[in-house]
Structures are given as structure tokens and as C-alpha cells.
């Protein structure tokens, strides 16, 4: 996946109501532009723990009257695409960002700067199998979200990439499992046969 990066940011958080309940995504302006490059090649499924992605983000200057003066830090997160949210209520998207569970994996947190932001991230080993996009939030000095940007469109239908999780299985575990199971079965039947033989002996004597 290759794409060029631009970043546009602006818009201060306006509604006081939102700050009572938590910031809502719909209240943020999409003023950051985020791009992700996956290595080694586009369209390939990324393997957790092995493959890495390169992210760049910057401020989008093209909106007039929007400044980035309030932005202090940027946090970039890995988010689930709709197909990975189906039938999985624990990954549900909610407008209220406090309750939103779309973006559960933190990639990086950095102080804000309008351009020249790059980060290379190896997909963590606890990332599950699924389809993802990347979103960056800009925070003000009160640590509230003030703007965001993401690699996909508003409907989250393009520029998605897939991750394949590690298996969690190990050969050593499999072997240990077989050994203990065999021990259980053998000791059970061993006991049983020994007792039967002992009973026969005492009956014969």
C-alpha cells in the first residue's frame, strides 16, 4: 500500500455539551491526513509480530480559517474495519469517543508537529486477525481529542489492510499436552488392570 501523505488540521472543539459527555467523533473535523505504507508490498496480508507498516501524517492546510494552534500531541491507533466488527459487539463503533471501541490498539503517541511525521511500526503480537485502517487523533493540552484523520474514507471502505495474527500454538505445548493426556489414560488403565489382577490372585489363593 503506497500513498502520499498530507495532513490538514483545524477546527477547535466547539460544543460544550460534547465535553460533558465526552468528545464525539462527529464533532471533530477531519483535518489530519494520515497515510500508511505497508511493507513489504501492497495487498499482502501482514503477519503480526513480523511485518511492519510505515505511517506518515501531517496537517492539511487546504481548509481556510483552521489552525492547529491547539494541537499538542498526536496519538495514532490501529482501528477495526466494519467487516471485522460484524457480530462482535465488543468492537462496536460509537460516536461518543469514551464509549467507542473501534480503535483498540495504540501504535504511537508523539508531540504534534504539522509535517514530517513518520513512524515505522511492527504489528504487535497480540493484534488479532482482521481488517484494519489507521486513525490519528490530535489532542489539546487538556488531553481532549480536537481533530483526527484516517487512512480510509468516511465509510471505511477503501485503503484497508489485513493482519494475520500469530497462532498462539507451540510445538512444545502440543507435545506436553499429548504427554499428560497419555499419562492420564495409561495410569488409569494401569491401576484398573493391576487391581483386577490383584483381585483374581486373592480369589485363586
Amino acid at each position: 500500500m503506497a500513498a502520499s501523505l498530507l495532513l490538514v488540521s483545524s477546527i477547535l472543539i466547539s460544543c460544550l455539551a460534547a465535553s460533558c459527555h465526552g468528545v464525539t467523533l462527529s464533532s471533530l473535523q477531519k483535518t489530519l491526513i494520515v497515510f500508511v505504507t505497508a511493507s513489504p508490498s501492497p495487498g499482502q496480508v501482514l503477519k503480526a509480530g513480523e511485518d511492519s507498516i510505515t505511517l506518515t501524517w501531517s496537517f492539511n492546510n487546504s481548509f481556510p480559517g483552521r489552525t492547529d494552534s491547539a494541537y499538542k500531541t498526536v496519538r495514532v491507533k490501529l482501528c477495526f474495519a466494519p467487516i471485522s466488527q460484524q457480530d462482535r459487539a465488543w468492537r462496536k463503533t460509537e460516536d461518543n469517543l469514551v464509549k467507542d471501541k473501534t480503535c483498540q490498539y495504540k501504535i504511537v503517541a508523539k508531540p504534534y508537529s504539522p509535517s514530517n511525521n513518520t513512524f515505522s511500526w511492527t504489528v504487535q503480537r497480540d493484534v488479532p486477525t482482521g481488517t484494519y485502517f489507521v486513525r490519528a487523533y490530535a489532542y489539546n493540552s487538556a488531553d481532549e481529542e480536537v481533530a483526527y484523520g484516517q487512512t480510509t474514507n468516511a465509510h471505511k471502505t477503501n485503503n484497508l489492510f489485513q493482519v494475520k495474527a500469530i497462532s498462539g500454538r507451540h510445538v512444545s505445548l502440543d507435545i506436553a499436552s499429548i504427554c499428560f493426556s497419555a499419562f492420564s489414560i495409561v495410569s488409569l488403565f494401569g491401576f484398573f488392570l493391576l487391581e483386577k489382577r490383584g483381585a483374581k490372585h486373592s480369589q485363586e489363593n
Partner: protein, 531 residues
Amino acid sequence: MADEENSPGSSMHGVTGKEQSFAFSVAADPTILTDSTAKFALPVDSEHKSKVFKILSFANPHMRTFHLSWISFFTCFVSTFAAAPLVPIIRDDLNLTKTDIGNAGIASVSGSIFSRLVMGAACDLLGPRYACAFLIMLSAPTVFCMSFVSSAGGYIVVRFMIGFSLATFVSCQYWMSTMFNSRIIGLVNGTAAGWGNMGGGATQLLMPVLYELIRRAGATPFTAWRIAFFIPGWLHVIMGLLVLGLGQDLPDGNLSTLQKKGDVPKDQFSKVLWYAITNYRTWIFVLLYGMSLGVELTTDNVIAEYFFDRFDLKLHTAGTIAATFGMANMVSRPFGGLMSDIAARRFGMRGRLWNLWILQTAGGIFCICLGRANTLPLSITSMILFSIGAQAACGATFGIIPFLSRRSLGVISGLTGAGGNFGSGLTQLLFFTSSKYSTATGLSLMGIMIVACTIPVTLVHFPQWGSMFLPPSKDASKFNEESYYGSEWNEEEKEKGLHHGSLKFAENSRSERGRRVLSVSTPPNSTPPCV
């Protein structure tokens, strides 16, 4: 004297049946002769069954059997529900959907419906010690199999297979009835069942702690949960070896005596089954038990994940809260039986029925509250009250079951137990498998189902004792205890005298009339009721 009452496996009050409250000991009961020649740590009767239930003792063989038995059952509960608190991790590792998780939960309780039926036969053939050891050690490999699981299908199959081990309930109850006198067997079996059920709670505490420790030791999350499953597996093997090494089938330790008892005429299974299934009360209790034990098992499966997701708690915090649900079994189940006995002393069987209805309906109402609670403290409070209601209702159910039938008690107990598991599978299927509603809504709907399906208890009517709303029949000579229990035998069988055990039981059951018992004249053909 017919051995039916005391022969192994016949005196089953099922689970938590309590004929006499506070009956920790019948040592002073003059009607049960103590065998003073026997050299046991506890006073025993003529069959060398203990007359005393000393909970904290490990005296061989009686109390040792009790502890081996309930701990084996506890271990099987631990392994059957071990996956439940780890679901937040497993669902990411195996890419599960809500449907998969729901299906696995249903599978975990379905297996034992069949295995419990087989277990009865196994106890008859092999004796309870080997039946228990066989089951627990042959299900150890299924627990270890969790380390191989890499897909939703594999997960469901393994949980199904682990669920078979819940049949240790049958061997537990059977084994206890060979060791304890029938007058105290109700309390003994009830305590064993309640403490065994606690395993469903203990596992919610144990597994997240193990997972955390293993992760801190350096494993990745997706490997750590697999390693955590080894511990329940080892518990299976250890308990199996202890049962084989320390246990014995009978107080005298002799299995072949058990087989010699086949000389006593055994009842015809087809008749026993017929009288069980044609008694309408059986089916009402099958439904009711599904709404007490069934919802308890369902909640064991879903509650940890519910707290983790709804309140954003850490895994071991959610596990701790979920554990209190199952651990309440330690007292709430015996409490239900005790309340049943206290109600019966004053109001007889009608009191028992009202007690059951009140406890189970209260459980249902608190389940509705649990689903609707939006704050953590309110949610935990509702959950605890729900657990007390549902588990006490389990205890109260088996305070009534012994009186439904004398001849078919074993089959009715078995059917009721199966109804419990079936109720669990059904509620999980209806409310916790599809994504149509959230888990919170599912809990509320389950609560409504509990309240609605407890109403049929009003239909349970005994001609000699009445029902919740109807008094007993006025014609006491036609509708009495003897005629009720005698109706399970036909004339031919009565001529052979096969029904004497039932008649004896009928006399003893006159206490279910409540305070009126002293004013009732006894039928001319029977001896006065013994107190």
C-alpha cells in the same frame, strides 16, 4: 426387611434434598440401630453407613469419600467453565464471533445431558469409585486439547467434550448414598452438590489469575491462555489418582458385595420410567430446574465477559466479580433447602411450593435488574441477589423432588438434572448467541423468562397435601399419602409386596401436611407415623 431403601443409589434425594433440617446427625435416633461391633471413626448403622455428617473430618472411609467426591465434582466444574473468564482473549486469538461464543457455551452444557445418563449405568457396573475415576481421567485429555485449538469449530468441539465431565455429579451422589444413612443423605448430597457447583465460580477467579501470572512470566497473550488450561487438566489427573488411591466403593471396601446385591429383586426399568414420565409434575420440575440451575450455568458462561465489556474492567477484576456469583453456592443452595424444610414444618408441602416460587421469582426479578443496571455497584448487587435467588431455588427444588414419587425417584432426579442443562443450553441459544440484542438485554429477557416459566409451579397439586392455591382433598381416606405412592404399583405387584418400601415412605411423608399432621387420623392398615 427390604433393602430397597438402603441399596446403593436408591435413596437419592438428588441434589440438596433435605428431609430433615439440621440433620447433621442421626446418631441419637433410636430407630436406626448403631452397629457397635464395627470399628469406624464415626458411628455407623447396620450397613456400616455413617449416621453422622462431620464436615471437617477426613475419617476413612465415610468423610474421606465425601471430600474426594465433592472435590472431584468441583474440579469438573472448574474445567467446564474455565474458558468463560478467558473469552475476551480467546475471541481475539481464534477470531470468534458472538455466534461462535454462544454456540460454545451451549456445547459446554449439552454434553453432560447424555453423559449423566450413562454415568448411572457405569456406577451400577463399575462402582462409583471407578466410574468417577474413569470419567475424570478420561476427560483430562479433552482439557489438554485446548492447546491444539486454532479455530471456532475446534473450540466448540473441545468445550463440548470437556462438558461430559459434569456427569461426576451422578457418581458423587451415588457414592455418597453408599456411605451415609438415608436419613442424613439429603443434607450430605446437598452440601456436596452445592460445594461442587462452586467450581463454576472459583474458575472465574482462578483462570484470569493464572493467565496474568503466565503472561508476566513472558508468554504472549495468545499462548498464555493455552498454558493456563493445563492447570485444570492437572487437577483432573491428580483427583483421579486420589480417588483411585484413597477411595473405596463401600464402607467395608468390598466391591464384590455390591455385585452380590443383584440378588435383591431389582425393579423393572420400563415401569420405573413409565411412572416417571406419566407424572405431570415431573415435567413441570424439568422446566423449573432449567430456570434455576440452567440459568446459573448460563450466567457462569456469560457473566465475566459481560462485566469486562460493559464496564471496561480488567480481566481479573471481571473474573473476581463473576466468581462471587458461583461461590455463593456454598451457602445459598443449602439455604434454599433449609428454607424449604422450615416452611414445611408449618405449612407442609404447600409451604415448600410457595418457598420455591418466591425464591425463583425473586431470582428472575434480580436478573432483570442485572441486565438493566447501568452502574457497576448496582450491577454487582443485582448479580449477588440473583445468584442467591437462583441457587436457593435449586436447593428448594430438590426439597420437593423426593416427594414426587418413591418408585421412580432416580429417574425423576435424572430427568430434572437433565432439564437443568437443557434450560442452560436453551437460554444461551435464545439470548446470548445472536447479535440481535446485547448481553445486557439478553440478561433482562432471561429474567423475564425465569419469572414466566416459574408460574407453572402453581399447577403442582398433591391430592393429599394440596397445591399453592388449592387445599388438600377433603376425603382423607381416599386421597392420602399411601394411595398416592401406592398408585405407582399395580395389583399384581402389591400382592407380591413390592410396594412396602413406598408405604413406609408414605408414612414418613405425613410430615408434609404441616401442622395438621397431629390431627389426621391414620389409615387403619398402616402403623402410626414415626417422627
